[in-house]
């Protein structure tokens, strides 16, 4: 676009208003966090709330500094991060493949339908103790938890996207002599791309849930472990610091995936 373009008065006012609205939103956001943190710090330092149970922003910052200095923090971050990423990738791939198989064979779909519904309704955390017995306490158990949480919902969402493809489009492909595999790769899959990106976004959040749940159950490292550990020794600073780091990591992963969604959303 040409920057020197001259606008009508109405256009100029419209643009000005838009800009002003954007500034107000930005200022509002900043103010909110500053106020909340400030209030928290103030109440905690004056003793209105007990800093032992509620910690404070400055104590959280010092704790993060200390944890980072002794090097343990990086191990915990790294453990949770790779568990989440591996869980995310495996669950998404597995769920996708399962959805393709169920799309391919209507008979298989009908056979498995009730079981998928049951598995989807089951709260996965109930399987926790069994996972520990079968996979031990460590990264593998956590990744399994991650997969359990994400895989069924991935399958259901992708299958719905595959099935909702316009029947006339399939007839069009058939009238051009397309084979089933061509219909899958040239129509069904690209047609489901917007839904796939939504699934990616949901799975980022869900795989963090899986990781933290897995680490709560039993683990020797990770942010979930750190939160659990902090609670047990009543060091709320460690708990809060871990949650803060978790926020940053989860948001970071979300920000990596969400531009994909915006790009492919119809």
């Amino acid at each position: 676009m040409n920057k020197k373009q001259t606008y009508s008065k109405a256009r100029a006012m419209f643009l000005k208003k838009r800009k002003r609205d954007a500034i107000i939103v930005w200022v509002g956001r900043t103010l909110l966090i500053v106020l909340l943190l400030g209030l928290w710090e103030l109440l905690s330092s004056t003793g209105t709330i007990d800093p032992f149970f509620f910690s404070s922003p400055s104590k959280i910052a010092t704790t993060i500094g200390a944890l980072a200095a002794d090097g343990n923090l990086w191990i915990h971050i790294w453990t949770s991060l790779y568990e989440t990423i591996i869980g995310f990738i495996l669950a998404t791939t597995l769920g996708f493949i399962l959805a393709v198989l169920l799309w391919w064979s209507e008979r298989l779909r009908k056979v498995l339908e009730p079981y998928i519904i049951i598995l989807n309704s089951l709260p996965k955390i109930a399987l926790g103790p069994m996972i520990i017995l079968w996979f031990g306490s460590g990264p593998i158990a956590t990744v399994v938890m991650c997969i359990l949480i994400c895989v069924i919902i991935t399958t259901i969402s992708m299958l719905n996207a595959f099935i909702s493809c316009d029947n006339d489009k399939i007839l069009l492909m058939k009238s051009m002599h397309a084979s089933k595999i061509q219909i899958l790769f040239k129509l069904i899959m690209p047609n489901a791309l917007p839904e796939f990106t939504s699934v990616l976004k949901i799975n980022v959040g869900m795989s963090w849930v899986g990781t933290i749940m897995g680490e709560y159950l039993s683990s020797k490292a990770g942010l979930g472990y750190l939160i659990n550990y902090g609670t047990q020794i009543l060091k709320l600073d460690i708990v809060m610091a871990s949650i803060f780091i978790l926020c940053i990591l989860a948001t970071g992963m979300y920000l990596i995936v969400s531009p994909l969604e915006r790009r492919y959303k119809k």
């Binding site: 489009k169 007839l171 069009l172 058939k174 051009m176 040239k186 129509l187």
Partner: protein, 253 residues
Amino acid sequence: MQMKKILEFKDVKFFYQTKDSEVEALKNISFSLDENSFTSLVGPSGCGKTTILSLTAGLLTPSSGEILLDGKPIEKHDSRIGYMFQRDHLFEWRSIWQNITLGLELKGLKKDEKKVALAEELLKKYDLYNFKNKKPRQLSGGMRQRVALIRTLVLEPSLLLLDEPFSALDFQTRLKVCDDVYNIIKSEQKTALLVTHDISEALSMSDHIVILSKRPATVKEEVKIDFSGETPLHKREDKSFGSYFEKIWRSLV
């Protein structure tokens, strides 16, 4: 001179199977299309017009009777047929060029120079060449329908099936696209079978109208149309348009 017959329906019956019963959709349908003719099928809604198209395209098989294309029986998913649907069904993730060459790609003919040249020629001829690399959403409804038509023409079908291809368009666009599609089909010398519930549309486009009864469908009447006008829009102005309209209307109800 006797015209060559492209499509022949001989005593075709068709039953639908549903959970509760067997539904007779078509009861001995017989008609034929001359080469380069434009035929419309009209009939009350739900009478089985689309079933006839699906049978012709080999997407369904008749319960009894015979359908011949160029004297040979229809095969499953017959590749001598081009099918145009109610909506253009362009694939949004593909460019116009990729949409037009979809059929070639599916048949492994993307390297076939003659076919590719034909695709380019059609694009140029019908003013779409400049939009070659655009995505379908950047085109108007009328242009999209033209792209959909070219997509089928690239495969050089012996017969074009049009299943209410204008029903999703607003009236203004519809008249214009009607003209466009008609002109393309005539200049490419294709035989076409149009399904529509719009009598004026059938009249303005075709030279032969087959009127179906309600389900189970039989051929109620066949009408030969002869207008002086050149394009569908001009034909609508012909003096005999009204009397033809009335004749078909009466036959339908």
